[in-house]
């Protein structure tokens, strides 16, 4: 394939515009990870629920798009908190499941993912639903690359969400408590932290982010019951690349994954596209398990 700079630029832009979405889902995963010390395997389904909720709110009830997005975020947060309270709660209380830290959680996450997907299927059916939105702005034209409004909006909203969250966790007492809850619930309790409340809060926040991503992606890719799984994989890759627990890392990780897979699809082979994300994930895990921005706590013997 002959190489030209214009199309390389185009592929990178494509990667970035989808990468920011990976980034905000990864942000939620990272948040749950730092808060609860678990990797949440049902997060893709929360994202899918968010997308459907946004669809219902905006297309069926007729709430304007921004309102639908906030509504979906709130509802998904409630859903997440409900799930956490009813199911995950007992596991977190005893510190991450049986035998190996987190094995119970991982399995629980998988179970939840299957169940949620089925619930969505029972409610909305298996077929993809279009989510057309009139943004009222023109596509952005760079040379002969055209970026539709939905992608532009996504990038802007993602960056805002990420900024707000970062401030919240880094410069408030709550951020400190989040980390305390993550490491040892018993001791956090003894510090007077209302551990259950915090866990709910973290979960809710992460789910709201996933829902936002769902509503943002809806107009770009339509909404479908099975949409969560692939997004989850990409978001995992993003979270790992950026470094679990690092919020800016999640976003940059997302963008890197987006670019990496788009270049792979463009220059190597499109049918292996998902493998590139996995490849990146595995490479980063092997050579820099903490990711680009993460820190691994050195625990002494």
């Amino acid at each position: 394939m002959d190489f030209d700079f214009g199309s390389l630029l185009a592929f990178i832009i494509f990667g970035v515009t989808i990468g920011v979405v990976y980034g905000i889902v990864a942000l939620g995963i990272s948040l749950i990870y730092s808060g609860l010390d678990i990797v949440h395997f049902a997060h893709g389904e929360i994202y899918m629920f968010g997308a459907f909720l946004g669809l219902v709110l905006s297309q069926q009830i007729g709430i304007p798009y921004p309102g639908a997005m906030i509504g979906a975020m709130v509802l998904a947060a409630l859903l997440g908190m409900f799930i956490e309270r009813v199911f995950y709660r007992r596991l977190t209380r005893s510190g991450g499941g049986y035998t190996v830290a987190g094995m119970g959680m991982i399995i629980c996450g998988f179970g939840m993912s299957v169940a949620l997907m089925n619930v969505a299927f029972l409610i909305w059916g298996a077929d993809a639903e279009p989510f057309p939105v009139e943004f009222g702005i023109e596509p952005l034209e760079i040379n002969d690359i055209s970026i539709p409004p939905s992608y532009l909006l996504t990038a802007v909203v993602s960056l805002c969400l990420m900024g707000i969250l970062n401030y919240f966790l880094r410069y408030t007492k709550i951020g400190l408590a989040v980390r305390a809850v993550a490491h040892n619930k018993d001791i956090a309790f003894l510090m007077g932290i209302n551990v259950p409340l915090f866990i709910s809060l973290i979960f809710g926040l992460a789910c709201a982010l996933a829902a936002a991503a769902g509503v943002l992606v809806g107009p770009m890719q339509s909404v479908q019951v099975e949409m969560g799984y692939l997004m989850l994989m990409k978001a995992f890759a993003a979270a790992v690349v950026g470094g679990f627990g690092s919020l800016p890392g999640a976003l940059i990780g997302g963008i890197l994954v987006g670019i990496f897979e788009n270049l792979g699809a463009a220059y190597i082979s499109a049918s292996h596209k998902d493998i590139y994300a996995f490849l990146l994930l595995i490479l980063v895990l092997m050579y820099r398990p903490a990711g680009l921005f993460g820190v691994v706590a050195k625990v002494k013997a």
Binding site: H183, D186, V195
Partner: protein, 245 residues
């Protein structure tokens, strides 16, 4: 201050405490002694709500606290420093200390108390930007006691604070605990360093197999040589005995 009546508790079906009666007066320093595996830590965990009370009642500062959640108990001013001296390894020393002050909203008072903790334990000041996962055993010990203090507790429960500390530091720790108690904090201390504990405390309880066997003023107990030999052995030694006989 703390009033424990006929408390039973344990893990699942397994009962460890079988009717504990214990009393800590306001401002006092009380020691809880006993052999290994006799239920001392279980009692502290029961008081702070980590292990559920099966029977009996616990009253603190005029309120019944048995059945409450751990964080509620902490908020009422009763703070425990656990035996497994766990700090948050991925946080710095100072962050750990600030966590201790989580329930407080008086930031001026928190800073002042932070200074006070650094005065008690100067090593912590030196290493305050270091991730606490890399501290030595003794340093962690000081950190967790300091963290307990940061909550500005009415009463502090210490589970073997001197274990694993250098002899010179042990004395420091004990005198710091005394100083802490002089500031009006009531103290319940579990110790294996019987001699030091009895020199610090005014009153002591000796527990064995989940019941209080002996109680009395510290002065009396320290002079009673039979106490050490007959009651501080613990179940491990007993097991051996019962096997041999």
């Amino acid at each position: 201050m703390l009033n424990i009546k006929e408390v039973h508790s344990g893990y699942g079906k397994l009962k460890i405490l079988r009717g504990i009666n214990l009393n800590v007066p306001q401002g006092g320093v009380v020691a809880l002694l006993g052999g290994n595996g006799t239920g001392k830590s279980t009692l502290l965990k029961t008081i702070s709500g980590l292990v559920p009370v099966m029977e009996g009642s616990i009253e603190f500062d005029g309120q019944i606290i048995s059945g409450k959640k751990p964080h509620e108990i902490v908020r009422s001013g009763l703070v425990q420093v656990t035996q497994s001296k766990e700090a948050y390894p991925a946080m710095t020393v100072e962050e750990n200390l600030m966590l201790g002050a989580f329930t407080r909203s008086d930031s001026g008072g928190v800073r002042a108390d932070l200074e006070k903790v650094y005065e008690f334990f100067p090593v912590l000041r030196q290493r305050r930007k270091v991730l606490s996962g890399t501290l030595s055993g003794g340093e962690v010990q000081m950190l967790v006691i300091g963290r307990g203090l940061m909550a500005k507790p009415k009463m502090l429960m210490l589970d073997e604070p001197s274990a694993a500390l250098a002899p010179k530091v042990v004395l420091e720790i004990f005198s710091n605990i005394y100083k802490i108690s002089q500031t009006g904090v009531t103290i319940l201390i579990v110790e294996q360093n019987v001699r030091m504990a009895l020199l610090l405390a005014q009153y002591a309880y000796i527990i064995r197999d989940g019941v209080i066997m002996i109680e009395g003023s510290a002065e009396d107990l320290i002079n009673d040589s039979s106490v050490k030999d007959s009651f501080l052995g613990g179940t491990v030694a007993n097991t051996k005995k019962s096997l041999n006989s």
